[in-house]
Subunit: 420 residues, 4 copies
């Protein structure tokens, strides 16, 4: 099982949050074939804690597409309604610690570049699902997870290996929390999350990371009254006036002293025709902060802006929290362990205790759960530099990092599970 071939296959078939049917089905099949006991569907996640799911029509389309492209119908049946988490469990010969690795599987709603300077386009593994793209490297993460799974087979170890293949990391809809809520990590002693990152040079490894911001994702609706824009404009209540006012004021919130903050209105949609006063507008928003309390403050401010922008124009409104993640603190014991193992692997040449990521990841909830129950956790970063940014149409990873990373995770697992 070649990790790069696997990654390219996933890259060609990007699936967004809670529609990772083909990906998850493939993960299940491979893990089973390797002899893992596999939990998926309702065994792997608690569907009620999800903050948001895609519309039923989108799910059905994705399901059909997955079937067409080789997913196993029997497996898919248990994933109905977006239950796409997969847990692979391998027990050692003796009891011992429980070690867990987390890999995320979902893609983004971005149309991939067809520029020939973009390797996936040039080498023929560009996304086949127009409008969707692995623009964050989760294809590589998933491939690394499966390659690690294979390498662990047949080893003589003490304890338990739990490989977590998580859906819906992007957007914070609850991919991680639905796994937490099912109790999957309650017995984990040592949890390792990871991310390839553009912002470090090739050969870099950070044993832990900081800069993981707490985040809240919201969906807001403004409800007004439509009217003929020519003959009775004053009878309408204009939902887009309220929404545009909210948008500007959300972005105009103050910077915070000594805390990174972010706000973004990622989507705004409203209105039906030029001659009708718009009676509805929908807005998708996120806040982030390097401090959880400040993120809560920002969330509160955004809600107040939406409320008053709506009421100013005599509109009704609704706000739903659709996603969240929290901050992450890496345990130094695991940070050091990772660095020690990385030093033994050819290819790693730059060693750093804590790297700075600057994003959000709901894996934070897995980490927090493990730490709350007395376990240790870290979120490591692996340098994989390319010219463009995450979430852009030309994003790519440096595939040379994949085998190195598999090797590193293998060493880490061996060390924890007493394999000499």
């Amino acid at each position: 099982m070649d990790v790069i071939t696997l990654r390219r296959d996933f890259h060609r078939h990007p699936e967004t949050a809670f529609t990772e049917f083909r990906t998850a089905s493939k993960v299940v099949k491979i893990l089973r074939s390797l002899g893992y006991s596999v939990l998926y569907g309702e065994e792997a996640m608690d569907c009620d804690v999800r903050k948001k799911v895609p519309p039923i029509t989108i799910m059905e389309e994705a399901m059909q597409r997955a079937l067409r492209d080789g997913a196993d119908p029997e497996i898919l049946q248990k994933m109905n309604d977006g239950l796409t988490a997969v847990i692979g469990i391998l027990k050692g010969k003796k009891d011992g610690p429980v070690i867990s690795f987390r890999f995320d599987m979902d893609a983004l709603p971005i149309t991939e570049s067809d520029d020939l300077a973009h390797l996936p386009a040039a080498a023929g593994f560009r996304s086949q699902y127009e409008g969707f793209m692995h623009a964050c490297g989760h294809d590589a993460h998933t491939a690394i997870g499966l390659a690690l799974a294979e390498r662990m087979v047949g080893l003589d170890f003490e304890g338990t290996l739990k490989l977590i293949f998580q859906p819906a990391e992007e957007g914070g809809w609850g991919g991680a929390n639905s796994i937490v809520s099912k109790g999957i990590v309650d017995d984990v002693d040592k949890l390792f999350c990871l991310h390839l990152t553009q912002s470090l040079p090739l050969g870099s490894i950070c044993g832990g990371s900081t800069g993981w911001m707490a985040t809240t994702k919201m969906e807001a609706h403004f409800y007004g009254v439509s009217s003929h824009a020519g003959t009775a404009p004053e009878k309408g209540r204009n939902a887009l006036l309220g929404a545009a006012t909210a948008l500007l004021n959300i972005h105009a919130q103050p910077r915070f002293n000594r805390s990174e903050t972010r706000v973004n209105v990622g989507v705004l949609e409203g209105g039906t025709a030029s001659n009708i006063i718009p009676d509805h507008a929908k807005m998708i928003i996120e806040t982030r902060a390097s401090d959880e309390e400040i993120n809560k403050d920002l969330e509160k401010r955004v809600k107040s802006i939406i409320k008053h922008s709506a009421e100013m124009h005599d509109l009704n409104y609704e706000i739903k929290v659709t996603g969240e993640a929290t901050t992450i603190y890496s345990d130094s014991e695991l940070v050091n362990l990772v660095l020690e193992e990385a030093r033994k692997i050819s290819g790693f040449s730059l060693f750093q205790e804590i790297g700075d990521f600057g994003g959000s990841d709901d894996g934070s909830f897995l980490i927090r759960r493990v730490q709350e129950r007395g376990g240790k956790a870290t979120y490591m970063l692996i340098g994989s530099p390319m010219s463009t940014r995450r979430h852009s149409p030309n994003f790519d990873v440096d595939e040379r990092t994949l085998p190195m990373t598999v090797e590193l995770l293998l060493n880490v697992a061996k060390r924890v599970l007493f394999i000499s």
Copy 2:
């Protein structure tokens, strides 16, 4: 052929601009069966002058729907690409004046009410095409036109009758201008347009009308650069910031002394996900003014606002004019003629020379063309009061006005064509 039955059939099958396939096909068939010579497709309109057409997928869906619901496939073939205008011509026994009536056929993208206090819902002729609705009375206009056509058959007259069934009145995409450009009204001596209106009591007839505003419809696009909203917000160029700024400032344009003006941003759509800086936004806008020059001024101001809102945020932009109509002045000769004939018809009891409509209609271009070539024209209004406004989900006409109006048009035609 019962005018109310016809109207209810059209009401059940509302079709928007340049997708009036079922409606136009039915009009062709009826006119042919009555012995009219019928122009349609490329014979009836010049497709190149259209400012805007629906996307190909929408057209195809509408075409399929029309076929399913009884449209004639052979006729439809000539209407491909939205060529849905229909002209019915009936020549008298001798030469004489050319009289023309204009009827518009298109519906709106509004979801019809299913409240049982709404007659179409209660009486079973609510729209069968979800999301579309005859919320402006064009269903009644078309039915009136066909009923008039039938009544004219077999009469002994001097001159020519031209019945114009126009597509795409709403939005001003060019339904009327495409007919003007084909030369259809170049030989018309007397042109009558009409509209049922909520704002006059039952029994009212205005021989002419004022308050028809010049209007411009525009579509604007803002193009930015996407970026990860958490890790590189400053690398993005935010299309929605530009669009929201434009939206507020377009609405904030000054009122004009002694001219009615209107501005509306009817649609705003942009962005893809909460964690991506939005790289595109689309906006649909209209301006109106009771003076053509002032409308041109407003159009210019809106374009400048869009340009500078975009450039302020380092965005590219594009503005397309997708529709227009001009002002209307009714000739008093025809105004008086209409009123004289209306006085002879039972049911009309309130007579007014000029009514005030307060909307826009690209029939204005038909009227202007006729007047420029030395003919006369008027736009009459017929009271058809119901409780709600045009372009709202509960809109309805008072069906009692339909037979009265057919009678009136018949009388007008007879008078012009020397039928005693």
Copy 3:
């Protein structure tokens, strides 16, 4: 007493609302010298109904300036606190009708042009009070009133002549209402108001007028919390963010079908220094509408926008109504009377019943009071065209209209008071 010399003297000494000390003092002296009985100070107005008065320091400066420039100190004493209304009363030999004319005296806070193409600059009667200007013609109105006063002396008439010299017409702070409240017009049978207007050609006379909009003037305050913009921006509550949001949304209110409306944020001031989050902003706003109820609706909308713009940014706020005027309807009896008398005067050559002004005047409250008590009233317009608009630095009147207008008012008074 030459009307043009008088007008130029007033033009040189422009005084704004409730600081017309020099002007009013001069009016009192002239009327007394002509034998009128004169009411002024508390006898002429009820100071409590005023919606707004200038700050005490402004009043004191204006008072000193008036003393310096020749005002009578004894008269001024009674005008303390801005009691600048003056009523001149002349009784005939016999009882008879009470006729009244209204003249406004106040100037505007505009800096007059010193361009030599501007007659007052070229001819040496430009404003001597920098920053203030008669940019609306009230200097001419006051001069006309005094010239009329002189011409009426010695005539043998039946009834009573009441000349009202009103302060504070601009801004609607209550110049007229304070006179109404004192009962000054309770016994008036026929009231004539007038305005010279740029929008009519020389020689034009309108016996009455329309287009007088109801208006509300408001002052709003936004109260936030200041903070260091570098080290604690998030601790501040930014009053200017609230005010700017309100400003855009006030202007973005819908146009109204079939009613002229206006909104203006005439003044916005806030903040203290670049590095301090602004904790206060003040805003001066007006609404207007050709329908009184619609003006009330607009006023309500503006208040709601201010409230929610403030609360959105966690600000406190305050809104005061500082001025108002209502609509005006001219009685046709007086309209005709004016036109008949104008026809007898050389210089008037264009006669119109009702002219359209398009502004607001709190003389509307004098008119409404007279009409409510059974009297008649009109507001006439006299063409006085010059190249620029009211309220601009180059505004001027055509002085040729002054003697003509005096003659007209004299004729009107004679006719009403039975002077043959």
Copy 4:
């Protein structure tokens, strides 16, 4: 000379940028009386490099006030036009290093609290100049400088002591740069700047500091056309619409990844009256960033927003840079020296190499100049905690820090100048 008494005297007489007449006059007199050679007026600063000066009337008022409150008229004469920098120079018996300390003297346009919980109010040394206040501790800095001056007299040292009393630190109008440009620090080997700070506990000393943001202060003007808001709103060009649009969009600029940034529109003023379309608006803005290049980027974005907000509404505009400061890096040699000396002084108990200030200071230009010419410099922070923030009406310093700080600076000077 008691440092606390001195500080309270300065506190009672707060003077803003380039009007520190009374303060500077007192500094000159004291330094002279101690035997320092004193440079002031044109000898101390280059008046042409100042980015901004107060209006002439403000300067004259301040000058009169200073004369009234005891400033020396002869000294003041040389400070005309705001030349308020003072340099005190004391030479040792032998040649040696040049050591310099910088103290800033200016106050802020804030009205001081009269709450009795506020010590200056309770103890009778609240600001006597209404509307002005020492809300940043420069009163204490100046007092410390003079107390240090006194303590140095009579000591036997090698080298030169240069005490810099700087005007106009707030707003970055060029107080420091005008001293740099005069060459005052060209021969300085070791420069020490300092600030008392609320954010550290009593007893804290940081030998150096970070978090000094680069900043740009700008003044923008929007020029439109006034018009009557009732009769010709469309003829106006509304300066406040442009300014409010700019204000919202300036605040809505993106956060920057991994750099502190700030934007503030500190002042907005425009318009004259409710019924006049505003033809002018003035805006005072600042940007800050912990990286100089990012501050330049922000400055450029702000300028673009102003340009396009103006042009969108057909306005002219003008932007002036009125102030600036850059980032600061403390030399570790001096950082250590400060800490070593602080450890010897009773009262200092918390020692930190580098503290984080989070503001801007144009002393940064003094520091940069010294460093560019091969000297060393540091900016030390001294904990002086009170309950409120800088630039707020209740700001105060903890006076116990004053004698301690004098002692520290004395030790530092002795060490550098070889005094045993």
